[in-house]
């Protein structure tokens, strides 16, 4: 029953439910995300945002519910298979490969998720261009373990970018950063979005969400309570209650 | 050869034996289960305690259980020191202890083995007490007092540890440190102090467990190697950090071993218990009664 003029969604989540033991973390969540969209995901702590990310990226198995990506049912696929199809993510708490340099961190992504078969030289170029774009050019040969918090965030995004994603999910990439650093990362994300990458951004910093998103979805206790333009969602009474109520 | 009598007997002995396994594993349940210290030297500490008990029993005719209680404070301090060394080496550097922690404790275990050999020689040792070598008779049943002692001590230890961990401030802090160090800092406790204390307790428990070990069977300096698999098996099967779970898992193991031994032959007993462990790990990695974030 999709209207004929709307483009086919890049990501379609249908009736997704996730339970942990007796606890229902996500309940019957359905949403479509268009190609190239900048999508904000908000909700109080424990509302199921990260669980939803984990279901999209394949870390959690869903039962029942399906995830369609580019028209393909990716529900039975493992995370690395989804990554290779173009779903990439960063983590709420950065998870670098600590024993590697920044460049090697990216090489992992290029080695395993690059779509076409490319030469080592081309990969090196690709890596350097991503690092430069992310403002990490000078850090290429530095050990990942020695990076600062904001550098780690950037490296996470850079590593995610190196997988050549169609969909990038950023899980609180700005948590714990100063306001100037927040702007820096936000500009980065906006520039990526300008290059035909669909982005889902989870964030607590409302200004960032408002500035970034075309559409915003709010989760509370595992249910969608609002979905619309940023202003619509902010104006929603249930959203305000959810935030104030906690 | 099968008879209900034998089966019943196997179950009873298995429960008692399981309690003994539980008692020697409780310390590990704290040090490995709650603190995540890969303490493969735990059985070596245990054997060391047995030799201390032997020494007191042999030279001063102290009852083994009393001797076990006597060495408990010494082992507590020993535990504090051991953890301090471990902490300075691994946790402080913020590196994952993993393999190197294991290697470290293997090294410690070897050193303890050699020290015991140098002091006591390689012969096996055992203790004498009124309850060693006699049995309690009930109709046709006879149950060795040694095992009843093990049963009683294991139960008391489990209850005391469980109460300690749930009722006292320090106990709760120890459990908190296992789950969330940040929350612990908010409680106003120093995680290092708490962990060190917990490791001290884990080691102190070994004093009494060591007494049980030498009461139940004779010890020799390299007996620890036989208990590495067994104690870790119990703790992992129980699920990390659950004291009552440790006892129950140990009893399950004891009963399984005892039944297999009676019905199918003793030579398959170790394979059975470790196959059970593998099964549990494969199906339910967090153990039967495990915590899992």
């Amino acid at each position: 029953m999709t209207s004929s003029d709307a483009p086919a969604p890049l990501l379609r989540i249908s009736a997704l439910t996730k339970r942990f033991g007796g606890f229902t973390a996500l309940s019957n969540v359905s949403v479509d995300i268009r190609p190239g969209e900048r999508f904000g995901l908000i909700g109080p702590n424990g509302s199921g945002k990260t669980t939803l990310i984990n279901c999209i990226s394949g870390v959690f198995r869903t039962e029942p519910g399906t995830v369609l990506f580019g028209g393909e049912d990716v529900t039975p696929l493992q995370p690395h298979q989804r990554t290779r199809r173009g779903i990439s993510r960063s983590f709420q708490i950065p998870r670098p490969f600590r024993s590697m340099t920044v460049a090697e961190n990216l090489m992992v992504a290029l080695d395993f998720a690059a779509h076409e078969h490319v030469s080592v030289g081309q990969r090196q170029d690709s890596m350097m261009s991503i690092l430069t774009q992310m403002g990490l050019g000078s850090k290429a040969n530095v050990s990942a373990a020695s990076l600062s918090q904001v550098e780690l965030r950037k490296m996470e995004l850079a590593r995610a970018m190196a997988t050549h994603p169609k969909l990038l999910i950023s899980d609180e990439a700005m948590a714990g950063l100063s306001s100037s650093e927040v702007d820096e990362v936000l500009d980065l994300l906006l520039s990526l979005a300008g290059r035909d990458i669909t982005i889902i951004m989870i964030e607590h910093i409302m200004q960032a969400v408002m500035r970034f998103s075309e559409r915003v979805m709010c989760l509370d206790a595992g249910r969608i309570i609002a979905l619309g333009t940023p202003t619509e969602v902010m104006a929603d009474r249930r959203v305000q209650e959810a935030y104030l109520g906690t | 050869m099968f008879s209900l009598d034998l089966l019943l007997d196997a179950v009873v002995i298995g429960v008692l034996l399981g309690c003994f396994y539980g008692a020697v594993s409780l310390g590990l349940s704290v040090s490995f289960g709650l603190l995540d210290v890969p303490h493969v030297a735990h059985p070596a500490f245990l054997v060391l305690a047995s030799y201390a008990v032997y020494f007191l029993n042999e030279h001063y005719a102290v009852d083994p259980l009393v001797a076990g209680l006597l060495i408990t404070p010494v082992f507590f301090v020993f535990g504090l020191a051991a953890y301090r060394l471990y902490y300075e080496t691994f946790e402080k550097r913020g590196s994952d202890a993993g393999v190197r922690g294991i290697a470290f404790f293997f090294g410690v275990a070897f050193i303890i083995e050699v020290l015991i050999i140098l002091q006591f020689g390689v012969d096996q040792r055992s203790v004498t007490a009124d309850y060693v070598g006699k049995a309690w008779r009930f109709g046709d049943f006879r149950i060795p007092y040694r095992l009843l002692v093990a049963f009683a001590v294991a139960t008391v230890l489990t209850v005391l540890l469980t109460l300690y961990l749930s009722k006292t401030f320090m106990g709760r802090a120890i459990r908190a440190v296992a789950q969330d160090e940040v929350a612990l800092r908010l409680m106003g406790a120093d995680p290092l102090k708490v962990k060190q204390w917990a490791f001290g307790i884990a080691t102190a428990v070994l004093g009494i467990a060591g007494a049980l070990l030498i009461i139940v069977a004779p010890v020799d300096p390299i007996l620890d190697r036989a208990y590495i698999g067994r104690t870790f098996c119990v703790v992992v099967m129980a699920g990390l950090g659950s004291m009552s779970g440790t006892l129950v898992a140990a009893i399950i193991l004891g009963v399984a071993e005892s039944i297999v031994l009676t019905l199918f032959g003793a030579s398959w007993a170790p394979a059975i218990s470790f196959a059970m462990l593998l099964g549990v790990l494969a199906v339910r990695p967090q153990g039967l009664f495990g915590r899992r974030s």
Partner: protein
Amino acid sequence: MTRNSMAFWTGAAVFLAAVFVMTQVVGNQYPFFAGYVILQFIALAVAWSILGGYAGYVNFGTSAFYGVGVYSSVFLVKAFGAPLPLQILAAAAIGALMGLALGVLTLRMQGIFFSIATIALTIIIETAITNWRYVGGAAGIQIQRPPVTAPFENYVQMLFFVQALLVVLAVAISRYIQNSWIGRGLQALRDDELAAECTGVPTLRLRLLACVISGALLCAVGAPAAMYLQYADPGSAFNLNYSVTTLAMSLIGGTAHWSGPIIGAILLGTTQQLLTVTISSEVNVLVLGLMLVLFVVGAPQGIIGLVGRLRGKKEGGA
């Protein structure tokens, strides 16, 4: 990269040639007996490191794989009088299957749980062999060596050369893995399995691959031991020492580079052989204990790490 490869293969060829010449020239048997043991530990440590070092999955079951290697040879010799190359190949195949089984069984386990599972596996397999009367069971079994093959004049010299081949094979595989995408993937999953998976690394498949390769090599290394000892008993073949010593060698050498386990095995293996014929008492065990503690405390990244720190932490890929 290519220059490094050239250097490596030249080195390997020189090593094998030297070993071969030694078997033809040296008449004294002792260097071959002692050397065999050291080579065997080098191969074990290198093979172990593929899973334990690169992937970070600490396998305590080295003795299980080694023992299965020994007993697969015992079985083949007793049942079919199989020649040595066949024994080694068969052991490698069985080891690969065993590694696969271990990998599948432990798919959901991480960290120390994996290690404990390998301990459990060791005890189960040892129990099975102990109860298998055909290969001697607990009582052990004596095996006759077939006549030696030319150009070797002595069986132990031949075994020494064969073990040297296995060392080169193990090192070549280990080095290839380290320098290839497999190595990078394993390193990523060792650092952070979830992040690796989400970066496109097929972590489960790589783990299985590491289990299979490491298992095949460990078993293959154990296979010639049956002919070396001409005797097998479960207590010796499944000795905990193999597990601990292999682990110690890898750690002392360092697991970050393929050469680490070699250095560690040479150092510790030679020390142990020397101690056996000098001090020769419980002090021997004490030295192993002290070396483990001191290295783990003083040189957490092993000798490789020490060297790296001395050279100012700048090294290329080879």
